[in-house]
Structure formats: C-alpha cells, structure tokens
C-alpha cells in the first residue's frame, strides 16, 4: 500500500511539473504585460510584478489601428460564423438523416477540403479575388474563411445530430407533428448545444487565422487583429515587450474565454471532425 502511495505521489509531482512547464509561457505573457519597463528590461527576471501597471495595455490600445483591426476581426468572424452555421446545418441534416446518391462524394469533398494546406491555396485565391477586386476587402477574407469553416462545421454538426436519440424524433412524429414540426420542436433545441460549440470553433479558427489575412489585406485599416499583432515587433531593434505582451494578452482573451466555455465538448467535437490548426 505504501509503495503504491509513494508511486502516486511521484506521478503527481511529474504532473505538477508538466503543468508548470506547459503553462509557463502563458504566465510569462500575462506577468510581463503588467510589469514596469525596468522589470522587463532587467537581466534578472522578476517573476511576479511587484508594482503592477496598466501602462502597457494603454500603450497597446493607443497604437494605430488597434480598435479598427479588432472591429475588422469581429465583423469577419461574425459573418463567417453566421453563414457557416446556417448552410452547414442544412447539409449536416442531409448527411445524417438521408441516404442519397452522391452522398459519398459529398463526404469526400467535406473531408478532402479540410486536408488542403492553406498555404497551397494562397496563390489561386489571391489571383481570383484580385480579378473580382476583392483583395484588401473584408468580403474577400470572409469568403476565404468560409471555405475553411463550412466543411469543418458540416462534419462536426453531423456528429451532434447523430447524437440525438432517434426515439425522440419518432415520438414527435407519432404525436402527429409534421416533419418540419418535429424538426423545429425536437431536433433544433437538442442540437443547439452542438451549434453553439461548432460556432465557437468557427469563431476561434477565424479569429486566429493569419496567412490569408496577411496575403489579402495590406492596408493597416483593413487588417485583422492577428496581422496587426504580427507587425507589432516592428523593424526597430528596441521592442516594446511590455506593450507587445499586453497586446498579445488582449488578442488571446476572446479565444480563452470561448475555449473555457466549450471545454467539455472539445475532445468530442475535434475527434468527430477535424479542425484546421
């Protein structure tokens, strides 16, 4: 018994070490954001800021285009999520409730498209969007993000719809509901948590996206927050690390909040359908 306990204590120690190492970068980001410049630039690091300051957050917020680019990101994400959920839900119903010729082809399309590396598509999408004068517009970026969000959402929602016990639908049908009635009263409320989880995933991937936004948006006032953040390092040798970490913290907050909200569904959602990293 005592060796078993000793072993458990040993494993727990390893677990705590893993926690410390893996969380350290996040801790370091937040801790730096609140430090004074003296503490940041010192050779010996200060682990926890002794006199926390909000100065870096003020500096970051006052940088050109911060609010504009946050607004751009929000617009892009909101439109992408709304369109993707509406269209993907219909297709997911078709996939999970009907058998039809071409179903397999559609599945191949949905899975295959998710496998395409984003980098491989920058050239054609750039050229085509340039053709239709949609370079340097949010519309272009929204269209591109839809190609990523749609297949993933179809696949994930399909998993959620399949998870609904079919007896419930049948009960509604027996009660004399029309198919649409059964859909609206039974299926929709039950699949709502799935819709929420999937839209949060779509939100996160769109918010985090970098390469397409970098390629398609070259005007400071048109960019998304990730592109804004990527230019922060600048060309000067002196980096304002405090403001950079404050800006990084601000960029990460929406994602962290949403991630915590759907934490329980993460493992299921991701194995049911694959998300692009």
């Amino acid at each position: 018994m005592s060796t078993k306990r000793a072993r458990r204590i040993g494993w727990n120690a390893v677990g705590i070490a893993v926690f410390v190492v893996s969380v350290f970068p996040v801790f370091w980001m937040i801790s730096t954001a609140f430090k004074s410049d003296d503490e940041i630039n010192a050779l010996n690091p200060t682990w926890i800021p002794l006199h926390p300051t909000l100065q870096h957050f003020r500096d970051a917020l006052n940088k050109p285009y911060f609010w504009t680019d946050v607004k751009n990101s929000l617009i892009v994400v909101a439109v992408v999520v709304a369109i993707a959920m509406a269209l993907a839900f219909l297709a997911a119903v078709a996939l999970s409730k009907y058998r039809f010729t071409g179903r397999k082809l559609f599945i191949v399309l949905v899975i295959g498209v998710q496998m395409l590396p984003g980098a491989g598509l920058i050239i054609p999408l750039y050229v085509v969007l340039a053709r239709f004068h949609e370079v340097n517009t949010l519309t272009g970026v929204i269209l591109v993000y839809l190609t990523g969000a749609l297949p993933f959402s179809v696949w994930t929602l399909r998993g959620f719809i399949l998870g609904i016990p079919k007896e419930l639908e049948e009960a509604a049908m027996v009660d004399g509901s029309t198919r649409f009635g059964a859909f609206a009263r039974i299926l929709l409320p039950l699949v709502a948590p799935g819709l929420v989880a999937t839209s949060v995933f779509a939100f996160i991937t769109s918010w985090n996206e970098y390469i397409f936004a970098r390629v398609l948006l070259n005007d400071g006032s048109k960019q998304t927050i990730t592109v804004w953040l990527s230019y922060f390092l600048g060309t000067s040798r002196e980096t304002d690390w405090g403001a950079l970490m404050a800006a990084s913290t601000l960029t990460a907050i929406p994602v962290v909040v949403f991630f915590l909200l759907i934490q329980r569904r993460i493992a299921f959602g991701l194995t049911a359908g694959a998300v692009k990293a």
Binding site: R8, N12, G15, V18, S22, V23, P25, V26, M29, P45, L87, A94, S96, Y98, F100, G102, K104, F106, I107, V108, I111, G112, M115, L116, P117, A119, G120, I122, I123, P124, L125, V127, V128, L143, L150, L162, G163, P165, K166, E169, E170, R179, I204, I211, T226, L229, S230, F232, M245, T251, A252, V256, F258, F259, L260, Q263, A267, L270, T271, A274
Partner: protein, 316 residues
C-alpha cells in the same frame, strides 16, 4: 455516435410517387448551398490554379487578368530548382520530427493523466486547455519574447539550472536552432489536442482487462502493448495523419518566429517557399506550380486519413 441508417426510413414513411420525387430532392436541396459556396470560392480558384500554373503570370498579367500560356515551363523550372528539393527534404524531416515528438510526448502525458490524483489531473487538463487556446500569432510573440537575445527568460532559466552558460545566447543563428525553436513552439501548441484526445481514447480501455492482465503478472509494457494499444491505435492513426498534414504545410509559426528578414533559401519550409517565390516575388505562375506539387504531396499523404473518415461517415 448513434447510427442514423435506421432513422432515415422513418423520415420517409409515405408511398406516393409524386411525394417520392419531392422527398428525394430534399437532401440535395439541403446540400446545395454548401456545394454552391464551396464550388464558387474553392472549385473555381482550383480550376484557375491549374490554368495559371501553365502560364506566365506576374504582376502585369495580374492587372490585365490574362496570362501567357507557356505549357509545363513552370513545373520544369520548379523541379529543376535545387532549392525546391532541399526545401522538400527539409520540410519532410521537420514534419517527421514534429509529429514524432508530438505523438510520443502526447501519448506519454495521456498515460500520465491516468496515474495521477484527480485534482492534479484537473490542474493539468485546465493548463492544457489554456495552452490550446493561445492563438498561434500570440504564441509566436511570446516565444520571441522568451527567447530574445538580450534578456530572454529561457536563457536565464537554462543558465540557472546549470544546463550551460546561455547568457545572451542567440537561438536564431543556425537553421537547425531556428527550426528547433519552431519545433518547440509547434509541439507545445499541438500537445493539448493530442493529450486530451488520447486520454479520451484511453478511458475506453476496459479497466478489468488491464487489471486482469496485471494480476496475471504481465509487465506494464506488455499490458500497454497488448491491451491498451489495440484500443487507442485508431485514434493515434487519425492524430498522426492530421499532424503530418498540419506540420507539412505549416507557415505562421516558422515565418513569424524566424522573422521575415531572416528567411533565406537556406531555411525555407514548403509553405514559406511557396509564399516567397509565388506571392512575394509576384510570380504567380511559378507559385501555382509549387502549390499543385504541394497539394499532390499532401493528397498522397492524406489518403489513409480520408479513407478512415469516409468509413466513419458511411457506417453512420
């Protein structure tokens, strides 16, 4: 996941032919919007991709919306470019190293989660979710800060731990150390997904089976190999193929961590090679040829994964 195969007929209980035609059209109507959007914003560009790859297509042609047909010249020039082959080799080695590290460490950590007390497990998993939620661009900036030459905290910690003298050590002087830093960043970011998914798979392993094997005197390695592995192998396969695809096409982390001014032909990865030679130098024809080669390589690699997912889609 429940099966919907039996559900389908319940949704279509009536017999008349007119209704039948109408009913048969329903799934197509449901799928149509997604197909239309995907066709317009992906199908057409992919068609253009093939055409542009056979054309001379630079800035002039971009403005005129018209390329000059030059046959397979772009492909010939890419395939005769030693940089392409070096980049391909480097990317394959890089991806294999990243995937191997991610999968091995990820599986070990998932096994660790089984052995620790509940409160430690909660601590570790919430830490992992926090790491998972870091946007890649944010993670890159944090890495930049932690590994900067002047007073990066990594150098301080390594020196304090007596690993060696890392005072103002520059982590970005050689291609190897640059890519090693990119690897730590990518593995750190990829681990949460792998650990949590493998852990979920591990909880499917029947407890009694493991205990029975242990009572029979089987060593822990044998228990793992003969009892645990068969259950989690499908999940490991999916995770491995996904990781290969992601790490092969990775762009954001290497591009931003190494930093645009320090990107050279000597440290290209596939995604960066394509970006620099196609987009930055505005040689879209050549870029299209590289894209097609890259897409073909990825398609070949993803066959296993796609097949498996299709089977999942068919069963249900």
């Amino acid at each position: 996941m429940a099966s919907a195969a039996e559900t389908a007929p319940k949704w279509s209980g009536r017999r008349s032919t007119v209704r039948r035609v109408g009913r048969d059209a329903v799934p197509y109507a449901l799928v149509a919007p997604v197909v239309a959007v995907m066709g317009a914003i992906l199908g057409y560009p992919v068609y253009r991709l093939v055409r542009i790859s056979l054309e001379r297509y630079g800035l002039t042609e971009l403005i005129e919306h018209h390329g000059v047909y030059i046959g397979l010249h772009n492909f010939g020039s890419v395939l005769h470019d030693p940089v392409f082959w070096q980049t391909l080799l480097r990317t394959v080695v890089f991806a294999v190293a990243n995937v191997a590290l991610t999968m091995v460490i990820g599986t070990l950590l998932a096994l660790l989660l089984l052995r620790i007390s509940t409160w430690v497990r909660l601590l570790v998993t919430s830490g992992l979710v926090l790491v998972w939620s870091m946007p890649p661009v944010v993670a890159v900036q944090v890495w930049n800060w932690m590994t900067n030459v002047q007073n990066g905290v990594l150098n301080y910690i390594l020196t304090e731990l007596h690993v060696g003298n890392f005072f103002q050590h520059n982590w970005y002087t050689t291609t190897f150390s640059q890519l090693s830093m990119v690897t730590t960043l990518i593995v750190w970011g990829a681990l949460p997904f792998v650990v949590i998914t493998v852990y979920a798979a591990l909880s499917q392993v029947p407890r009694e089976l493991v205990e029975a094997a242990e009572i029979d005197g089987a060593r822990s390695w044998r228990v793992f190999k003969d009892v645990t592995m068969p259950v989690i192998t499908p999940v490991l396969l999916i995770l491995t193929s996904l990781s290969i695809l992601w790490d092969f096409g990775v762009f954001t982390q290497p591009y931003l961590l190494i930093g645009q001014p320090h990107i050279t032909t000597g440290n290209y990865l596939m995604g960066i090679y394509l970006f620099e030679q196609g987009y930055v130098s505005a040689n879209f024809g050549r870029g299209a040829a590289i894209s097609i080669l890259m897409l073909l390589i990825v398609a070949a690699m993803s066959v296993v994964y796609v097949r498996r997912m299709i089977r999942i889609g068919e069963v249900t």
